[in-house]
C-alpha cells in the first residue's frame, strides 16, 4: 500500500467478556488496533463478531474487561461517549433513518459538531443558519467523495440496497471519525458494488488516515485489504495476526473447515 504509516496502539481491548443471561457471547477476548491500520474481525456465524463491535462502541456493556482508547480507560463505555471519542460505525442490517432524505441522513452525522441552541434554530438566525451552511459544505464533500450526488434529495427508503450501504458509510464519515467500525460493509452486494466499497474503504483509510475495524465474510476481500486479522469462534479468540499468519493457523483452518477438534 501507499505511503500511509501505521502508528501506535489507538484502541486496546483487554479481557472482554460479555454474556446474555446464560449465553456467553464473548469470553476473555483481548486484541488491539493500531492507528491508521485496517483491522479485520472474522469468524463463522455466531462467533461474536457483531457483539465485539457493539462492545467497542458501547451499545453493549461487557461484564468484564476494559476498553482503552488513546490511553484513556473507559470503564463505562456508552454510545454517546464512543461517538464523542471519535468512533463511528455502520450496521450489518442497514440502520438508516428511513423517513429522511439522503442529505438529512448524512447531516445527522454532523449533529455532535452543531452547537447552536434550539431557540436560535427555531428563529433560523445567526449561528444556527451559519452552522447549517458550513456543515452542508462538509457534507457535500462527503457526497462527492462517495459519488452519491444524484440521490441527494431522495428518501433513503427508496434506494437500492447497495446505495443504502453507501449512505450508511457516508453518515459515519460525516462524523469525521478517528476509528471507523464497519459491520459487514459488503454483505449482500454484487461484485461491482463490492469493488466500489473496497475502493471507498481504502480511500478513507489512505486519504483521511482513518483507522478501520471491519467485520467481513468475504475472505478474499478481508485478506486483500486488511493489515491484521483477529479470528473469533464461539466467543473465543482463536487467531490474531497478519493475513498470512492467520491463513496458516491450524485452529482457524479447523474452525472454518469444520475439521474434528
Amino acid at each position: 500500500m501507499t505511503g500511509r504509516k501505521i502508528g501506535e496502539v489507538i484502541l486496546d481491548l483487554k479481557n472482554i467478556s460479555l454474556s446474555f443471561g446464560g449465553v456467553k457471547a464473548l469470553q476473555d477476548i483481548s486484541f488491539n488496533v493500531l492507528e491508521h491500520e485496517i483491522r479485520a474481525i472474522i469468524g463463522p456465524n455466531g462467533a461474536g463478531k457483531s457483539s465485539m463491535l457493539n462492545v467497542i462502541n458501547g451499545v453493549y456493556r461487557p461484564q468484564e474487561g476494559e476498553i482503552i482508547l488513546r490511553g484513556e480507560h473507559f470503564a463505562n463505555m456508552n454510545s454517546y461517549r464512543a461517538a464523542k471519542a471519535g468512533l463511528a460505525r455502520t450496521f450489518q442490517n442497514i440502520a438508516l433513518f428511513k423517513g429522511m432524505s439522503v442529505l438529512d441522513n448524512i447531516m445527522t452525522g454532523r449533529n455532535l459538531k452543531m452547537k447552536a441552541n434550539m431557540l436560535l434554530q427555531a428563529l433560523w438566525v445567526g449561528p444556527a443558519q451559519r452552522e447549517e451552511l458550513e456543515h452542508r459544505l462538509k457534507v457535500e464533500e462527503i457526497i462527492d467523495f462517495l459519488e452519491i450526488q444524484h440521490i441527494r434529495k431522495t428518501p433513503v427508503g427508496r434506494l437500492p440496497y447497495g446505495l443504502q450501504k453507501r449512505v450508511d458509510l457516508a453518515r459515519a464519515l460525516a462524523m469525521e471519525p478517528q476509528i471507523l467500525l464497519l459491520d459487514e460493509p459488503m454483505a449482500g452486494m454484487n461484485v461491482e458494488e463490492k469493488q466500489d466499497m473496497c475502493r471507498f474503504i481504502l480511500d478513507v483509510n489512505d486519504q483521511f488516515g482513518t483507522t478501520v475495524v471491519l467485520i467481513e465474510h468475504d475472505m478474499g476481500v478481508v485478506m486483500d485489504i486488511s493489515d491484521r486479522v483477529v479470528v473469533l469462534d464461539y466467543g473465543k479468540k482463536i487467531g490474531d495476526g497478519t493475513p498470512d499468519e492467520v491463513r496458516a493457523n491450524p485452529d482457524v483452518i479447523s474452525a472454518y473447515l469444520g475439521a474434528s477438534h
Binding site: 461517538a83 445527522t108 434554530q121 427555531a122 447549517e132
Partner: protein, 358 residues
C-alpha cells in the same frame, strides 16, 4: 403559467435550504397568508369566525405540537388534552394571581408550564415506548382531569368549577370582536408554524427524526435519546399548552375541565394521523378536516335522511361522525400513513410534470 421549475437553478446551498425552494410555492404561501390576514376578515361573518375559523386556527396549533412529538419524534401521546388544560389553567392562574400580568405573557407562561409538565411526563419515554408510553401519557390525562376538577386552588375556588377570563388585550389592542380574535390567533399560528418548520429542518429536527426512525443508530452517531425525546416533549407541550391557553382565553372565554378531556386528546391525535404525521402542513389539513366534518355532516345528513323519509337525530349525526373518524383512521394508517399532506405533495409532484409527464 405552468407550475414548473425549468430554468430555475440553485447557485448556492443557502438558496437550496429555503423552506420553499420553488418560487411558485413561495408566492402561493405569501398569497394565502396575505389573504388570510387582509381579505378574510372583510368577507366572513361572525358565525364562520366562531364556529370554524377560530377553532381551526387554535386546533391547528395544538395539532402542530402533537405532530412534533408523534410525527417527528415518534413518541405516541394520548394525553395532549391534558397539556392543553395545563396551559389554559396555568395561564389563568398567572393572569389572576400576578398583578399587572399581560395576557400574552400569561399565555406564553402557560405554554412554558405545560412544557415543564410535559418533560416530567415524558421521562417514562426514556425507558419505554409504544403502548407503554401511551399509558404514561394517559396517566397524565387522568391525573390533570382530576386535579383541575377537584383541587380548588387551580380554579381560584370558583364554586361552579368553571373559570372565566374577560376579553384580553395585547399591547393596547383589545381583542373582543370575532375578527380580532381571529387575527390574534392567526398571527400566533403563523409565527409558531415558522418556528416549527425551522426546528424540523434544523439539527434538532433531524435528531428527533433520527430517534423516531432508528433509535440505536441515532445513539451511535452521538444523539442523546434523553435530550432528543425530552426536547420533543417540551416543545410539543409548549405548543399544545399555548393552544390550550388560547382555547380558554380567546375561543371559550369561560371553561371547565371537560373542555380538555380525553376526547380532545384523541381528537388531536386523529388530526395528526389524518392530516399527515411528520408534515407541518398535515397539522393544518387535519385540523381543518376535523373541524369541518361535523358541521358538514350536520348539514348533509338530514338532507340525505329526508330523501328516504327518515328523521335524522342529532345523536345519529354524532354517531355517524365518530364512525367516519374511526374508519378514516384505519384507512389512512393502512393506505397512506402520511395522511392528506402526502396526498397533497404527491399531487404537486404530478403537477410539476404536468402536462408532459415524460
Amino acid at each position: 403559467m405552468f407550475y414548473r421549475e425549468n430554468g430555475q437553478f440553485k447557485t448556492s446551498y443557502k438558496s437550496d435550504q429555503q423552506i420553499f425552494p420553488i418560487p411558485q410555492d413561495r408566492w402561493a404561501i405569501v398569497a394565502i397568508v396575505a389573504l388570510a390576514f387582509f381579505a378574510v376578515p372583510m368577507m366572513v361573518d361572525e358565525y364562520l369566525f366562531r364556529a370554524i375559523l377560530i377553532p381551526f386556527l387554535i386546533l391547528s396549533l395544538a395539532a402542530l405540537g402533537v405532530n412534533i412529538l408523534v410525527g417527528y419524534c415518534g413518541q405516541i401521546t394520548l394525553g395532549a388534552g391534558a397539556f392543553m388544560a395545563v396551559g389554559a389553567y396555568a395561564a389563568y392562574n398567572f393572569l389572576i394571581r400576578v398583578s399587572g400580568m399581560p395576557a400574552l405573557g400569561a399565555i406564553l407562561l402557560g405554554g412554558l408550564t405545560a412544557a415543564a409538565v410535559g418533560i416530567v411526563f415524558g421521562i417514562p419515554s426514556l425507558r419505554v415506548r409504544g403502548l407503554y408510553l401511551a399509558v404514561a401519557t394517559l396517566a397524565a390525562q387522568f391525573f390533570w382531569d382530576w386535579a383541575f376538577l377537584r383541587v380548588k386552588w387551580f380554579t381560584n375556588d370558583a364554586s361552579s368549577g368553571s373559570v372565566s377570563v374577560a376579553d384580553i388585550s395585547v399591547f393596547g389592542w383589545t381583542i373582543d370582536s370575532p375578527s380580532d380574535k381571529y387575527l390574534f390567533c392567526l398571527g400566533i399560528l403563523v409565527i409558531f408554524s415558522l418556528m416549527a418548520k425551522n426546528m424540523v429542518r434544523g439539527s434538532i429536527g433531524r435528531q428527533w427524526m433520527a430517534i423516531r426512525d432508528m433509535d440505536v443508530a441515532a445513539t451511535v452517531i452521538g444523539i442523546r435519546p434523553m435530550y432528543a425525546k425530552l426536547t420533543a416533549f417540551a416543545v410539543s407541550s409548549f405548543y399544545v399548552g399555548v393552544a390550550g391557553a388560547l382555547w380558554g382565553f380567546v375561543h371559550l372565554g369561560s371553561w371547565e375541565p371537560a373542555a380538555f378531556s380525553i376526547d380532545r386528546s384523541f381528537q388531536l391525535l386523529f388530526m395528526v394521523i389524518i392530516g399527515g404525521m411528520g408534515a407541518i402542513a398535515g397539522s393544518f389539513f387535519g385540523a381543518a378536516f376535523i373541524v369541518i366534518l361535523p358541521i358538514f355532516l350536520n348539514q348533509l345528513l338530514p338532507v340525505i335522511g329526508g330523501w328516504f323519509g327518515l328523521e335524522v337525530s342529532i345523536a345519529l349525526v354524532s354517531h355517524v361522525e365518530i364512525m367516519i373518524f374511526g374508519a378514516l383512521i384505519a384507512f389512512f394508517l393502512i393506505v397512506e400513513p402520511h395522511g392528506i399532506a402526502r396526498l397533497w405533495s404527491t399531487g404537486r409532484e404530478k403537477l410539476r410534470l404536468w402536462p408532459f409527464p415524460h
